[in-house]
Symmetry: C2
Subunit: 236 residues, 2 copies
Amino acid sequence: MTGKLGVSCFGCQTRHTTEWCASSDAELTLLDQVKAPKIMEAGTALFHQGDECGGIYCLNSGLVGIRRLDAAGNSTLLRLAGPGETIGYQSFLLGTAHRATAEIMMPSTVCFIRRQTVRGLLEQNPNLGLRFLRHNVKDAAEFEERHFETISFTVRSRFLNLLMVLYERFGSLNEDGEPVLDLPLSRQDIAALIGSTPETVSRSISKVQDEGLARFKGRKVLLQDIDELMRQLPAS
Amino acid sequence: MTGKLGVSCFGCQTRHTTEWCASSDAELTLLDQVKAPKIMEAGTALFHQGDECGGIYCLNSGLVGIRRLDAAGNSTLLRLAGPGETIGYQSFLLGTAHRATAEIMMPSTVCFIRRQTVRGLLEQNPNLGLRFLRHNVKDAAEFEERHFETISFTVRSRFLNLLMVLYERFGSLNEDGEPVLDLPLSRQDIAALIGSTPETVSRSISKVQDEGLARFKGRKVLLQDIDELMRQLPAS
DNA sequence: CGCAATTTTGATCCGGGTCAAACGTCGTGG
DNA sequence: CCACGACGTTTGACCCGGATCAAAATTGCG
């Protein structure tokens, strides 16, 4: 019994890394029946800040950006969510409206699970809640970490750090065997992620380029000296 | 059946604000029997970074500081925990050693609950896990918020913000009916909390004093113009 | 009453934010 | 197909908040 679009929970690549990995076959079957898998284009949104929370989203593939709009209407990218991540469960759990917008950053396939269904599953399976809990504890720890980094490292360090994280996720080798990376983010968003401004990010890029560590053309990046780049990362 | 020291979960002031509020009478009775309430002096520690997690702590009264030691041996205050808060559950849930040190900042009464007991309670009562989950989701949201504040507001704003938060928790009126506050923190710790340095904090204090907004003598603070102080807070 | 630790003040310097302008790059309509 | 405008990016110039280093002043303690 496959879901629409051929996306079944049983075959989901990321199932074993998500909260759902403790679910029984019966529960997965139920999920397959009620979930709504969808292929979405970059630029569209899963939900908008202020929307009431109708359910949660499980990202099968692609990339989603969580962004917040401030009073002045500027949108600030807060974090990225990748395959296997469940999105919007915070608002679901707190029973509040969404505090942020979830925007598709790359073509993605996403499964939507209605509120009532999640509620039922949580009641049936106590372990599911615990898995969400562990996941969230990790997230919180990561925030703490990021906060710490922001106040103790320079923009350059943070930029290089982000660059390498993105390389791990989206990097590859070109036909010449050189490490390359296609940035899924605008400079604006890069700046927001590391707590800086587009101008300063641009300057960091120029600097890194002048030093011969990497080469930037638009969103294409060629990591010329990846070893040195790694070496300059802040100690974790 | 009261616990030692006369601290019973049934009479706990903070019970209805903690995760335990959904617990049945039977469970509370069990808790009363197995928990180890203790009065602790400022300067002592509940646990140290790197210690293995033997259980969790529920703060009945007082104040606990969560601090991390970096490679150089400097300790950085990450956050404060007040009455009603459960401490150390993150490491418990992840099954890891404590990632931080929990230090008593004011004389406190703390209840310790052994790992095995918590495990049992969590298995019996699925709601307990969900309550922890909600609590942690809120914490994570708060971190996000704080991160956002740190990169978008000045040290002065952050300092005033902290000052008012502390006033809400520890402030009172003196014999003349003026709002006063006894800081439970050193300048070092204040600096760490707002992501700055002791010197800059000291300068902020001088500035605020020169402007006639407040008067500082050691850890004693007299809030001279509390309305103006509130007005200068960053928009929440 | 000293000695050590904390706090304050002073002087200096630099990362990086802000404002502005030049420069692509792309999509739209003439 | 090109001209045009809107936007994102880069670069330049300037300035300020705040970190750092150093030293004096205050506080707390044995």
